[in-house]
């Protein structure tokens, strides 16, 4: 037992030296992760700070001017053009000058005054239906406030029926809050998987794997020795992103670090298991890399990172059950933002254990039985 531990420690040390000795690979492992978390932290947001809009005011009344003043009073809406007729709408949106056209009908003032209520039309750029939806939502918030003030000013004591909304865990509904904690799992997943996938394939290609197999190291020991370094590197990468999330973006950390790291450890182990199995199967580095990618792309896309899993067709939802990233993202979000403890996230943890328990022994079996 003791001898085995010693051999494993020797292998771990060698693996770490092999990966971290070259300054270029050190750079490639730690600098990009930092820059990416900043870059994507800023870029990966569905929130809009600025909605360039064009106005088509057919009424040109006091009431319509009041309404437009409301819009311009916000920091978000930025009037970039005033249109004279409906034909201009196409050009304004088509050329991407505006993402929203606000059209006020010519009977606007008359209908409000008469209590019938008027309709304002919002025309958005559907090339990105996401942005379109969000800008409409912002506009409807302005309309809502206008209505409340209007009825107050015109003698109605209050709105008879109010809808009061509250968002839990993310009171201002900032996308960044959900995106950046997800990156703790997603970004490190990418590189850890690639790193592991190359580790055995590289030794095979360079002939050193045979040399390893003739030493007293047992396949199980090789497996552990090959798994631990990428796990450590993956956890380091996750920590970098965690620090950026907490201290650069100032997203409050609600959970316990212990829970988070236990979860991340399970997740990294599962992804390293997947990587090692792929690596042990591949004959060359090129194959390892390309196969990894064929696996990685769907895993990233079907992880809930950019698009909710509950929106997917049932068959695809079943597919995501084999995806470690799916559990990791949900788990990290819940621990980070919702402060979930073990009792809330164990449902995300045991599948990760299962994946690791299936893939790691497969890899170790393939070491000796896959002859290339």
């Amino acid at each position: 037992m003791n001898a085995a531990l010693h051999r494993i420690a020797t292998l771990i040390r060698k693996e770490l030296i092999a990966v971290l000795k070259d300054p270029r690979s050190r750079l490639v492992l730690f600098l990009p992760i930092f820059l990416q978390s900043l870059l994507f932290g800023y870029a990966a947001t569905f929130d809009l700070n600025e909605v360039p809009y064009a106005l088509l005011d057919r009424d040109r009344s006091q009431a319509s001017r009041d309404f437009v003043a409301r819009l311009d009073g916000t920091t978000v809406f930025n009037r970039v053009a005033i249109l004279n007729n409906a034909r201009d709408i196409d050009a304004a949106i088509g050329r991407k000058e505006a993402i929203l056209v606000v059209q006020i009908p010519d009977d606007f003032e008359r209908r409000i005054q008469s209590g019938q209520g008027a309709t304002v039309q919002a025309i958005t750029d559907g090339r990105n239906s996401n942005t379109a939806g969000i800008s409409t939502a912002y506009l409807s918030a302005v309309v809502e406030r206008f209505n409340a003030d209007w009825s107050a000013a015109h003698g109605h004591a209050a709105v008879p029926l109010r809808v009061e909304t509250r968002a839990w865990y993310n009171p201002n509904l900032e996308t960044r809050w959900n995106m950046i904690p997800s990156l703790i799992a997603a970004l490190s997943f990418l590189q850890t998987l690639m790193l592991t996938a190359l580790s055995v394939a590289r030794e095979r290609e360079q002939g050193t794997f045979d040399q390893l197999l003739v030493t007293p190291l047992r396949p199980r020991e090789i497996m552990i020795g090959k798994a631990v370094p990428p796990i450590l590197i993956g956890l380091t990468q996750s920590t970098i992103i965690l620090l950026v999330a907490r201290f650069w973006f100032g997203i409050p950390f609600q959970g316990s670090l212990l829970t988070l790291y236990v979860g991340l450890l399970l997740f990294t182990t599962a992804s390293v298991g997947v990587g090692l199995a792929l690596s042990a199967y591949s004959a060359t580095m090129q194959q390892a890399m390309l196969y990894t990618f064929v696996l990685l792309m769907p895993m990233m896309l079907l992880s809930g990172l950019t698009s909710a899993i509950s929106n997917m067709p049932t068959a695809m939802q079943y597919l995501t059950l084999a995806n470690p990233l799916r559990y990791a993202i949900e788990m990290v979000q819940r621990i980070y933002l919702e402060g979930a403890g073990f009792e809330w996230v164990y449902n995300d943890m045991w599948p990760l254990i299962l994946i690791a328990v299936l893939t790691l022994p497969t890899a170790s079996w393939l070491f000796r039985h896959r002859l290339v």
Binding site: A9, T10, R13, K14, I17, D210, Q211, L212, T215, L217
Partner: protein, 584 residues
Amino acid sequence: MTAPRHGVAIQAREVSKRFARGKTDVVTALDQVSFEAQHGSLTALVGPDGAGKTTLLRLATGLLRADAGTLTVLGLDVATHPQEIQNRISYMPQRFGLYEDLSVQENLDLYADLHGVTAQERAGRYPRLMEMTALAPFRDRLAGKLSGGMKQKLGLACTLVRSPDLLLLDEPTVGVDPLSRRELWSIVAGLVENEGLSVLVSTSYMDEAERCSHVIVLHEGRTVALGPPQDLSARARGHSFIATASMQESARSLQARLMDMPEIIDAVPHSGHVRTVMREAHAASVPDVRFDPVEPDLEDGLMMLLRAQASVPPAAAAAIELASARPTSDSEIVIEVHDVVRKFGDFTAVNRTSFDVRRGEVFGLLGPNGAGKTTTFRMLCGLLPATSGTLRVAGADLRRARAEARQNVGYVAQKFSLYGDLSIRENLEFFAGAYGLRNSRLKARIDWALDNFDLRERESAAAGLLPGGFQRRLAMAAALLHEPQIVFLDEPTSGADPLARREFWRRITALADHGTTIVVTTHFMEEAEYCDRIMIQDAGRMLAIGTPEAVRAHAAEDGAPAQTMEDAFIAIVANARRQAQDAS
């Protein structure tokens, strides 16, 4: 092409080339080298590992730029006209860049197209190339699936798809068996003779250099001698002797004994005797040994020349310190191979092979490329299960990959396969740890390896960037760290220069004397003379097994009496192939 076929093909005037190693360290690969190579002849470039042979060839191709001096190829300055030169020459690098995922024919076609060979010219050329290389049956095989020797021949064929004005060959026969080597050389010699081809070839085989009209000896980036091979051989005139032991002493132990004597410059086993070069022009007096004068050859001359260099250590320096001999009887069988078969699909790589190896024996596996040597090796090391039959190594069935058995085995692969990005010390530390060495013992063994294998000076250099000689010593040191009972060495001397080969065998002899069992493959037939017993394999079958004398005698029965092991080998293999053909 109507290039001049006379005059000077390559002219070097004080050419120097330096490489930066790390941030401050600069290595001088070539130091003011001057020489001329004539048109229509063969010029050989010889010298120990790291002498600058490859650098010189690369400079001549225009792939590297000289730091100083002028290099003129085919009358053009390489520095200013690399493309013109590349249009006219052909070059075969040490590792010829065959596209392994293309077939033999596709590789040939690619190079023919690149050189603008017309369909008409091809019609004349291809059949000859196919005949010369004997690759015709394998036209559609992927290059990656060819054996090492066939790959080299294909590489040569690709460089010869047209008649170049100059042919540059960088160690074209490394790892090539004696049969293929003879074929390759007859191809080149034929072209020189019939087409007036100009060739510059680097080689570590002296018998090859001997066939050239001119030899350039490089050592540490400088030319130490140049001239016709006869002139170089003549330097050893009066110094060369054949030593014969009067007692029943093996050639190997006599060689080791002679090698350690200061009066003797060189000693190599040769057909049961030991070929010796004396420091003085008369035989030294050694008890129980008779010396007969013999005509010197190029290798004798080269050894005279190299041992005169201050930086070359005396042969005795290669002896290694070993713990006292293992207290076991010599008759103990440590490797037992019985009726082993290994198939890949319907191809039988090893067919019903049986042999035993005793403790302390040096056992040689010889055979042409693709004979099944490496497959046998991989089975013995537990890297490949046998299809049928039994293999026992150090008392354990290695097929079941028992870690305990592996503890007693050391393995040096054919290709350098330690970690290239780790330093020498890191590699040694890793393998020592992997074999379970710890603390003071680990430290002691690493010091032993660094000192005895002459690795100390570069211990923190990345292994992948070391010259081949260092890599080979490191690989052997790493395999011996745990003092294994049995060491497997797959072509350990391929590409090694004569000095390095002497060092290697000096160490092997010492190990065997201390009870370590050695199993080794080699393409240098004279090295078979170091072995206690050898086995010759071809096409997966055992053709001969026994002491070198017995094998030579065996070959004599089959026809012409074999003088050298190489002749014996070729006779045995050719005979077996003939019989196989007759049978089918």
